[in-house]
């Protein structure tokens, strides 16, 4: 089931400029039958002005491949070659009121055919600048090869980084398993191991107190306890609050004290009571261990 726009359906059912252009002086062939997509774009270019007079396509491919080809020819007719080279695959998709993410590669093929045709006209050889791999992220149409190359080029090590660099995995997140697999493979080649821990996830927005009120309450609870500890020549200081975790530093006589764990429990109980929510009080050393 594909969610094709009216425009895609229109260009598929009534394709414009189908067939080879007679007397074409620029031809671009891209794709391959093994990929299930192939497009031949033929152009008749005015040698004086380099304006595209006629454009035609022959496409082997799915509905959106045919619609993308049709759209491409409509867009570039009347443009100069330099103008036409600026047409991006997104322009083609936009012209069609969007393509399903899995079908974005059809618009990429259109742009590549155009580059190939222009190269052909100018007597150059166009080279496919990327091998297309299996589609991993369907939300943003990112393939395995691109992900792998990006990981290598930028020394990436987490799914989040891959998302930041390639957009892969930034949508529904169903492809994270696939991204992790690529990361595991590439990192292994480099003698590293993939650590899924990545960046910690954000805690939920607190109910009741604002962040500041919450911090003040926790500080207040700790201040109230300090005199008791100071009587035994110990002390405690607040180091960090991260979601439900409150990190404290035990100082003075509390360091190495056998009762330190019990003291932490007491501090936790006091904070829980004052705050009206459950939090965990942990030694600051746990914070370092986590970092």
């Amino acid at each position: 089931m594909w969610d094709y726009s009216e425009k895609v359906q229109d260009h598929f059912f009534s394709p414009r400029n189908a067939g080879a252009v007679a007397g074409a002086n620029a031809v671009g062939d891209v794709g391959s039958l093994s990929c299930g997509d192939a497009l031949r774009l033929s152009l008749k270019v005015d040698p004086e002005t380099e304006t595209i007079l006629e454009a035609g396509f022959q496409t082997f491919g799915c509905g959106s491949a045919i619609a993308s080809s049709s759209a491409l020819t409509e867009i570039i007719k009347g443009m100069t070659l330099d103008q036409a080279l600026k047409v991006s695959n997104q322009d083609i998709a936009d012209y069609l009121d969007g393509l399903p993410p899995e079908k974005m590669h059809c618009s990429v093929m259109g742009r590549e055919a155009l580059q190939a045709a222009v190269a052909n006209y100018r007597g150059q050889v166009w080279k496919d600048d990327h091998a297309e791999g299996a589609l991993v992220c369907k939300c943003f149409a990112v393939d395995a090869v691109l992900i792998e190359e990006t990981i290598r080029a930028n020394g990436l090590s987490t799914v989040e980084e891959v998302t930041n660099y390639t957009k892969a995995g930034g949508g529904c997140s169903a492809c994270h398993e696939g991204v992790e697999e690529i990361l595991t493979r590439v990192l292994k080649e480099q003698g590293r191991t993939f650590d899924p821990a990545g960046a910690a996830r954000a805690p939920a927005k607190g109910k009741g107190f604002s962040n500041l009120q919450r911090i003040r309450r926790i500080e207040g609870a700790i201040e109230a306890i300090r005199p008791n500890l100071q009587r035994d020549r110990g002390d405690v200081e607040l180091v960090e609050i991260d979601g439900k975790n409150v990190y404290v530093n035990m100082t003075g006589a509390c360091v190495g004290c056998q009762m330190a764990a019990t003291t932490l429990d007491g501090i936790q109980q006091k904070i829980v009571e004052d705050l009206g929510e459950f939090v965990r009080v942990l030694p600051a050393s746990a914070l370092q261990a986590r970092a």
């Binding site: 089931m1 529904c172 997140s173 821990a197 979601g243 439900k244 975790n245």
Partner: protein, 403 residues
């Protein structure tokens, strides 16, 4: 519509007439495979998309792609727990509770045999958890916490939103079996730290054989069933289209009737409970009456046996259940009642009445009239019951030795 009085809605519910109407075309003219490109498939695909949005609305999920259709609550539970273990192979511990549904408990017991360490949180006499005990167990050795939102037998609600927040702070995944809660209490998942949630269609007036796993975006996941690309590769297998459409409709209706649960349904439940407690001596409500599902009431009738009560109720066309239907077939009283420390003499006599919005106040009055004579009749036969009251020191008065 139904014959008799159906007060066993925690076991399963009647499929709403509107839901039946919505699903029927998907057996006949709308038979297409939603993956197909042609119009037969495409229309069904659109219907599934709509159903996904209806489920999303009831759960308050942020994205519709967080809804994964499964075959039932049990599948959702197993998918969630096994996914967490497979995605984090270095973590070998699980936290759950002693009162979970067998869908979670039996799986955990099996995982123990495979070498996992399972921590079972205990409950007190009212079925409440000790959050301190829970906090002390959270560590980076734990792959997942799986805690039910509402108990199927007592209706007791667990503070899963707060527990999920604690788990998130400790870097631990949190799953909740919300099969009994969805549709009965308001849920807004985008405001919580719950990573995964299971629901079952037939508990909220959709048919059997359809469930949902809510999977928060960016939760590390490994599918249980691999194969086709259905559900974005997270649950392969051709979609159960008619039931998915039905569940979508049922969720829409549940959301529309949410207020009715905490008003009219709750009033019927409370009326039944007060009526029975007033008329029958030596019975009490189990669980946490102040903090439970609005539709559930579980009463322990001391010194008599639950199945006998059910049979006599059934003779009068009244349907209820004793303990969990899933635990019946065993001679042990319900693990939930035992976990709350309810004595055997009462645990065997627990009866659960669970309502839906299709019940009426008139039915409640009929049940209130029916129960006291049934209890009295059975107590006359009970060795623990004397003239007009329980025998003194019942444990010693009647302590048969089982061969």
């Amino acid at each position: 519509m139904t014959q008799g009085i159906y007060l066993d809605n925690n076991a399963t519910t009647m499929v709403s007439p509107e839901v039946v109407e919505a699903m029927l075309p998907f057996f006949t003219e709308q038979f297409g495979n939603p993956s197909s490109l042609h119009q037969f498939g495409n229309r069904v695909g659109q219907a599934i998309k709509r159903a996904r949005q209806q489920v999303q609305a009831l759960l308050g999920a942020e994205h519709e792609s967080e809804i994964v259709f499964t075959s039932c609550g049990t599948e959702s539970d197993a998918t969630a727990i096994l996914s967490a273990l497979r995605a984090q192979p270095e973590r070998k511990e699980i936290i759950t509770t002693v009162v979970e549904h067998p869908a979670v408990l039996a799986l955990c017991e099996h995982l123990e045999k495979e070498g996992y360490k399972v921590h079972y949180l205990k409950v007190d006499g009212r079925g409440r958890l000790n959050i301190r005990e829970y906090m002390d167990l959270l560590s980076d050795r734990v792959a997942i916490c799986s805690v039910m939102w509402a108990n199927n037998e007592s209706g007791t609600l667990f503070p899963v939103e707060e527990m999920a927040e604690l788990a998130r702070s400790a870097g631990v995944m949190f799953h909740t079996d919300a099969v009994q809660a969805v549709g009965k209490v308001p849920i807004d998942l985008k405001e919580t730290c719950i990573d995964m949630l299971s629901l079952s269609g037939h508990k909220l007036h959709a048919p059997k054989g359809i469930g949902v796993l809510y999977l928060r975006r960016n939760t590390r996941f490994r599918p249980l069933l691999r194969g086709g690309h259905q559900e974005r590769g997270r649950r392969a297998g051709t979609e159960n289209t008619a039931s998915i459409v039905a569940l979508g409709k049922a969720c829409e209706l549940a959301l529309a009737h949410m207020d009715e649960e905490k008003t009219r349904v709750r009033r019927m439940r409370d009326r039944l409970e007060h009526g029975i407690l007033e008329a029958v001596p030596h019975c009490f409500v189990t669980g946490d009456p102040g903090n439970r599902l609005p539709n559930t009431c579980n009463i322990a009738f001391e010194y008599i046996e639950g199945e006998a009560i059910l049979l006599l109720l059934n003779k009068q066309g009244i349907a209820a259940s004793s303990g969990s239907a899933c635990t019946s077939g065993s001679l042990e009283p319900s693990h939930v009642m035992r976990a709350m420390g309810i004595p055997f003499t009462a645990a065997h006599g627990t009866v659960r009445f669970s309502f839906s919005r299709y019940n009426t106040a008139d039915e409640v009055e009929q049940v209130i009239r029916a129960v006291p004579p049934i209890v009295a009749q059975l107590r006359k036969l009970s060795p623990y019951w004397g003239e007009g009251g329980p025998v003194a020191d019942p444990d010693r008065a009647f302590a048969p030795a089982y061969a």
